[in-house]
């Protein structure tokens, strides 16, 4: 009996001992699993419990005019997001959110009676509410963005509705205080494929990298109550706000030319128009405008389809959207490649003078010029016999220019037009700058040379023409145009000046061309439109537009480029109107508009008339 009890005790003791050993190994195994196998997961869980994470959005840099006024700035906005598992009443939350945030209706109201319209609108609203419900129903997601860039009032309304599981994340929305002003220079901010803010066109596009900045993140260790521990671990990755960009644009001049250009395009019934004002000594762009323009803050509105609506039902903005669509966005001053016409003649004349093929006293025949089976004539079929180079320019004589080009010969002409910067971009810091392609020297025919001499058969942008004319003003040195004055960094600023100067022609040739351009204004075909008392140098250009390979006399590009006062210019300005129908001649369209703007510029610069 005693033996039996001892045996039972020994068995229990062994069982207990082995149980402990087994439990010990289970414990060791579990510890191994936690510390080795599932290490990453538990670290993540622990960090989630111990850390407060917070994203710090980077503020997009501002774009300022030369007087420091913000042309593009930021206004606080909010991203509305949901934590779906916290949303209590999905139906109610979805319908309230749709009510507050709203949506763009696509219902076409015509051909619908009141009842049908109401029915359609209800149906559309239900569709949006259902879409919202779908977003809120995704309970396995912790974060569901619902609406971007909502303003303060929308946020307040949502807060007042007291919806469970709906939160806000601070963000910024781009704002353009001057509205449409300088829209083509500025560009706009949209979203890229990853849903991030991205600049398109103009400065917003070209300097997107500098402007956007880098979002930061802050991580603070928290205590059991969720409060941050000041001496705990602190992992800040500060946001780097975007850099501010100061432009050379003079706000007053920009406003002035935009008003005048809009009036001019409407008055002469042109398809579009461009004006650029430059400081010719430095290459600084003081104002640059194209019309029609757009409001960069609401750029999406211009892409909507208004094709089935009548013009009477549309607002001015909708009419522009219907007529131009996305063609509104490119900056015509740098992206519109066109045949310049007669404003190119002074360049040809300067090459002839520079190469010594003519002098200012050379007599050039003004008469029909036959070449390769064609006959080149003057724009008005008037001929003046033997003319000086100045007279050729005054009469804008194509036949005289063709003869001048013949004297120059192809190779020097080709090399000089490359020196003048044709065929390559000016390098201005705007995203949409374009240029024409100049064909290889071997591909030029004699007729190409003759027509290029008076600006047909070659293409330029308005800004390229401006750049070429700076050579006449600066004793033969051509300056590079620029539009960014400085980029402000947090502790300093990077200043810009004209990146380069290039001697294209001699000072003597440049002076001769300036004198000729003064005579063009004083004695040319448009002398009656000129402002009295001011010494202005300039040249008109009326270039026919090729339609299906044939030049159409009823469709022209009208340009006037000039500077004043001629002896020491305050400004160089180009005015270009595309396809004006009120008149097809520059003298009756671009010149009056140029003079109208110049009149105000003289007052602005304090230039008194000579008499």
């Amino acid at each position: 009996m005693i033996h039996s009890n001892n045996h039972s005790q020994s068995l229990r003791s062994s069982l207990l001992k082995y149980s402990f050993i087994v439990l010990f190994f289970i414990l060791i195994g579990k510890l191994y699993f936690i510390q080795v196998e599932a290490h990453g997961r538990y670290i993540a869980l622990a960090e989630k419990q111990h850390w407060i994470g917070k994203e710090i959005p980077a503020k997009r840099g501002e774009i300022l005019s030369s007087d420091g006024f913000p042309l593009a700035t930021n206004v606080p906005a909010y991203l509305v997001f949901a934590v779906p598992r916290e949303v209590e009443n999905i139906d109610d939350t979805a319908s309230k959110l749709i009510e507050i945030i709203g949506y763009e209706s696509t219902i076409k109201k015509e051909d619908l009676d009141e009842e049908q319209l109401k029915e359609k609108l209800d149906e559309e609203k239900k569709q949006h509410v259902d879409e919202m419900k779908d977003l809120l129903s995704q309970k396995d997601l912790l974060y569901m963005p619902l609406a971007y860039k909502q303003d303060e009032s929308t946020k307040s309304k949502i807060e007042e509705a007291n919806l469970k599981g709906i939160y806000f994340e601070k963000d910024y929305k781009r704002s353009y205080p001057e509205g449409e002003m300088a829209s083509h220079v500025l560009g706009f901010v949209g979203k890229n494929d990853r849903g991030e803010d991205q600049g398109y066109y103009g400065i917003e596009g070209f300097y997107n990298g500098e402007l956007k900045g880098i979002a930061g993140r802050i991580a603070l260790e928290k205590d059991a109550l969720g409060r941050p521990i000041p001496l705990g671990n602190y992992l800040p990755v500060g946001s780097d706000d975007g850099r501010d960009i100061v432009l050379t644009i003079n706000r007053q001049l920009q406003y002035l030319i935009e008003k005048k250009l809009e009036a001019g395009v409407k008055k002469y019934d042109a398809r579009d128009g461009t004006v650029i004002i430059m400081d010719p000594q430095t290459g600084k762009i003081l104002a640059m405008a194209s019309y029609p323009n757009y409001n960069p803050a609401t750029w999406q509105d211009y892409l909507k389809d208004y094709s089935d609506k009548k013009d009477e039902e549309l607002t001015d903005k909708e009419k522009l959207a219907k007529k131009y669509g996305k063609k509104l966005f490119p900056n015509l001053a740098v992206a519109d490649v066109y045949e310049p016409g007669s404003i190119f003649k002074p360049i040809t004349m300067s090459i002839a003078l520079e190469t010594g093929k003519i002098t200012e006293d050379t007599k050039i025949e003004s008469a029909p010029y036959p070449i390769s089976g064609y006959t080149i004539s003057t724009w008005n079929n008037k001929y003046f016999g033997l003319s000086t180079p100045a007279e050729i320019l005054q009469h804008s004589d194509n036949t005289g220019m063709a003869r001048v080009s013949e004297a120059i010969t192809l190779e020097p002409f080709y090399n000089y037009i490359l020196d003048y910067g044709l065929g390559k971009i000016t390098g201005i810091n705007l995203e949409d700058e374009d240029t024409s392609w100049i064909k290889d020297l071997d591909d030029w025919m004699s007729v190409d040379l003759a027509t290029a001499a008076f600006g047909q058969g070659i293409s330029v942008t308005p800004l390229q023409m401006m750049q070429s004319y700076t050579a006449f003003i600066n004793n033969g040195k051509m300056v590079t145009p620029y539009i960014v004055e400085k980029i402000k960094t947090t502790d300093a600023s990077i200043e810009f000046t004209s990146p380069s100067e290039k001697q294209v022609i001699s000072p003597e040739t440049a002076k001769k061309i300036v004198d000729m351009l003064v005579s063009v204004v004083e004695k040319g075909e448009f002398k009656f439109a000129v402002l009295p008392g001011y010494k202005i140098a300039g040249k008109t250009g009326t270039a026919q537009i090729a339609v299906n390979g044939i030049y159409d006399t009823r469709q022209t590009n009208c340009t006037f480029i000039g500077f004043a006062p001629a002896a020491d210019p305050e400004f160089l300005m180009i005015v270009k109107l595309t396809r004006p129908t009120a008149s097809t001649y520059s003298a009756e369209t671009a010149v009056p508009l140029w003079m109208d703007i110049a009149k105000d510029l003289f007052v602005y610069y304090g230039v008194a008339p000579l008499n």
Partner: protein
């Protein structure tokens, strides 16, 4: 014999003293440690509390700063919009009854003004 007894007594006395000494060390050390631990825990609690309160204050100040920055941005934006040239022109025309001048305005040089006098 007497010497042996006295040696034995002396040894016992020394052993007793040694034992007493050991027991003093045995009982005094935990008391000191205990006091030190209590002081350290109290300090830890106190400091944690202070840091916790300061942390909450910092969070509050951070929120206040954010809110003021937000207000500043909104106000700056309003200023920009109100001082936009198109708005100034509109206000001048609508509220101050200012009109555009139809006639030509020209700048007159100082000499011309002097000759008029």
């Amino acid at each position: 014999m007497i010497k042996k007894v006295s040696d034995s007594l002396m040894r016992r006395k020394l052993m007793h003293q040694e034992l007493n000494k050991k027991s003093t060390v045995f009982f005094d050390l935990p008391k000191g440690l205990l006091a030190l631990t209590v002081i350290m825990i109290s300090a830890q609690v106190l400091l944690s509390n202070i840091f916790g309160v300061k942390g909450a204050e910092l969070v509050k100040l951070d929120e206040e700063q954010n809110s003021l920055m937000h207000e500043k941005t909104v106000l700056e934006n309003q200023i920009s919009e109100l001082s936009a040239l198109s708005r100034i022109e509109k206000e001048c025309q609508e509220n101050l009854s200012m009109k555009k001048i139809d006639k030509n305005v020209v700048y007159i040089s100082d000499q011309a003004v002097a000759s008029l006098k």
